[in-house]
């Protein structure tokens, strides 16, 4: 993606090039595409056995994209920058492992299965640029007890994202932030489905579409709290900005709560840039376009402020600044 250059020394880079075998290892952490792993281990099945990935997690035959494996207790000293080439991917973080991942540039369909074992952490940032054809991603995450997952998804243009997360073990945490820009006649959809299947878990969703032109957006956020998931905390907010009168945003919050001792809330807003704030900035000598850009930047930054890796956060913010808002 143009403008997204991070100094080599700040990250580990992995390009899931589908045309050749790729395999990388840093400090025990493995990243490879199917061909790369097969070349190294003999077969995908052998590799999955080596990682002790339970057959229920994924079907070895289905992985044709990239695979990231963080062994027990390992953590990367730098963020991993993964350039996806589409397909079915797997991210598996064993107990106590930690990974900081930035995934970008998948101009096609892409599905990622994520499994976090006990006390594993994954901080994932996704950057997507939809073209004429919609970029479509599906993340299916399964989290064991005390695992932590955060997803920051920054998307531009025609994008269709689905995130399914199951908080399967006690005290698991899932945080998701979605920042979506659309212009002209583009359409972006975000669907989130979070299941609290164990007690004392927390989930927190915040999505913001910023729409210009005649673009449209869709947000569907479902939270299911199963009967045994007592002491659940689950929040959802969809807060959107329509920059032009012909833009349209559909929001569907769905809460299904079967436990009785829970804290859950949802909220949805659709609004415009604060005209009073625009005037305030202009009254100090800042041009109208610049004033609107400053306010948009602030609205965008609100969603990105807790990106774990400073290097990744810095680059995403720089990327936003060079985007042309309308």
């Amino acid at each position: 993606m143009n403008g997204l250059s991070i100094p080599e020394q700040d990250v580990y880079r992995f390009v899931a090039d589908a045309t050749k075998a790729v395999y990388e290892e840093w400090n025990g952490i493995v990243a490879g595409n199917r061909a790369g792993i097969v070349e190294k281990f003999g077969s995908m099945e052998i590799f999955l056995r080596h990682c002790r990935i339970h057959a229920s997690v994924t079907d070895a035959a289905s992985i044709n994209g990239f695979m990231l494996y963080v062994p027990c207790g390992k953590h990367s000293d730098k963020p991993l920058l993964i350039r996806s080439s589409g397909g079915n991917n797997l991210i598996y973080i064993a107990s106590g492992g930690v990974a900081d991942v930035l995934v970008y540039d998948s101009n096609e369909e892409d599905a990622t299965t994520i499994r976090l074992d006990e006390a594993a952490s994954l901080h994932m940032v996704r950057l997507q640029q939809g073209g004429q054809k919609s970029v479509s991603t599906h993340i299916k995450a399964w989290q064991a007890s005390s695992s932590r997952m955060s997803v920051h998804c920054v998307t531009f243009g025609n994008v269709r994202n689905t995130l399914d997360a199951t908080l399967a073990g006690k005290d698991a945490e899932h945080v998701v932030r979605g920042l979506t820009f659309t212009k002209e006649a583009e359409h972006a959809a975000n669907h989130v489905d979070i299941t609290h299947a164990s007690p004392e878990c927390s989930s927190n969703q915040l999505f913001r579409h910023i729409l210009s032109g005649t673009s449209t957006g869709d947000f569907t956020g479902r939270i299911v709290v199963s009967a045994n998931a007592q002491k659940t905390t689950a929040y959802q907010r969809s807060s959107n900005i329509l920059l032009h009168p012909e833009t349209k945003m559909n929001i569907t919050p769905q809460l299904e709560i079967y436990a009785d001792d829970v804290k859950c809330s949802h909220g949805a807003t659709v609004g415009q840039l604060d005209a009073e704030a625009v005037f305030y900035l202009r009254s100090r000598g800042i041009g109208e376009a610049e004033a609107r850009k400053i306010l948009l930047q602030a609205l965008a930054e609100e969603l990105l402020k807790d990106i774990a890796s400073p290097a990744v956060k810095q680059r995403i913010l720089q990327h936003l600044q060079i985007m042309k808002y309308k």
Partner: protein, 247 residues
């Protein structure tokens, strides 16, 4: 410096200003007083280019050019400043960043060299001290979580940073306790220059104890109905507006 001639203004079809005339010269302080709904804040809004205010008649000249043709930002760059009656909270935009952009936009317009980061920080610290704004507030988002008094002080801080030629203070005294009022007023007085002018819009005389006006105007029903020296403010304080409005 500022010349307002027979200014008529409507807001959503309602006539608010009905022929305002006002002459302000460099070095002067003018106070505009008057009852609620007289059109004082409308006048401030029209002068700074707030949208929704339609000038139906009359003209405004600022330093010899027609002010009304310019956008709000152009007016600001030419040296017009408004201290807002209700300063706006802007979450996520830091005061420091906001002021840096504003100061440099104005300097660019005036063909002055842009301030370096260290010059800018030095200036922020000096001006914050001048108006008694706690320096921690500079690192926060614009007006977010500021008390009423801090917001008003922040307006005067911005005025100090931008060094306007014409400052319009719209009810800057409202919501201030007496200590804050004194600090704000002293700040305004210290910022006075021989080539600048100030218009103070207020309900009450008490601000004028600290910012001494050269001329006091009384506005009622969209017109300036009386102009006199600073003693008029005292007379208004004791007698109210009734005697003027009904005479």
């Amino acid at each position: 410096m500022l010349s307002i001639r027979n200014l008529h203004t409507s807001v959503y079809g309602n006539k608010i200003l009905k022929g305002v005339n006002l002459e302000v010269k460099a070095g002067e302080v003018h106070a505009i007083m008057g009852p609620n709904g007289a059109g004082k804040s409308t006048l401030a809004a029209v002068l700074t280019g707030r949208s929704g205010y339609e000038v139906t008649q009359g003209e405004v000249f600022f330093e010899g050019t027609d002010l009304l043709q310019f956008s709000p930002e152009e007016r600001a760059r030419k040296g017009v400043f408004l201290s807002f009656q209700y300063p706006v909270e802007i979450p996520g935009v830091s005061m420091a960043n906001f002021m840096k952009i504003a100061v440099n936009e104005q300097r660019k317009y005036r063909n002055l060299p842009l301030l370096t980061a260290s010059e800018f920080l030095k200036r922020m610290r000096e001006k914050a001290e001048l108006v008694g704004l706690e320096s921690s507030l500079i690192n926060r988002s614009v007006n977010e979580g500021f008390s009423g008094g801090e917001k008003k002080r922040n307006e005067i801080f911005q005025m100090a940073m931008l060094e306007p030629t014409l400052a319009i203070l719209d009810e800057t005294d409202s919501g201030l306790d007496i200590d804050a009022l004194r600090i704000v007023a002293n700040g305004v007085t210290m910022l006075k220059r021989p080539d600048s002018a100030t218009i103070v819009i207020t309900h009450y005389q008490r601000l004028l104890d600290y910012i001494v006006p050269d001329v006091v105007h009384v506005m009622a029903d969209g017109c300036i109905i009386k102009s006199a020296g600073k003693e008029l403010a005292l007379e208004l304080e004791s007698k109210g507006y009734e005697w003027l409005v009904n005479s």
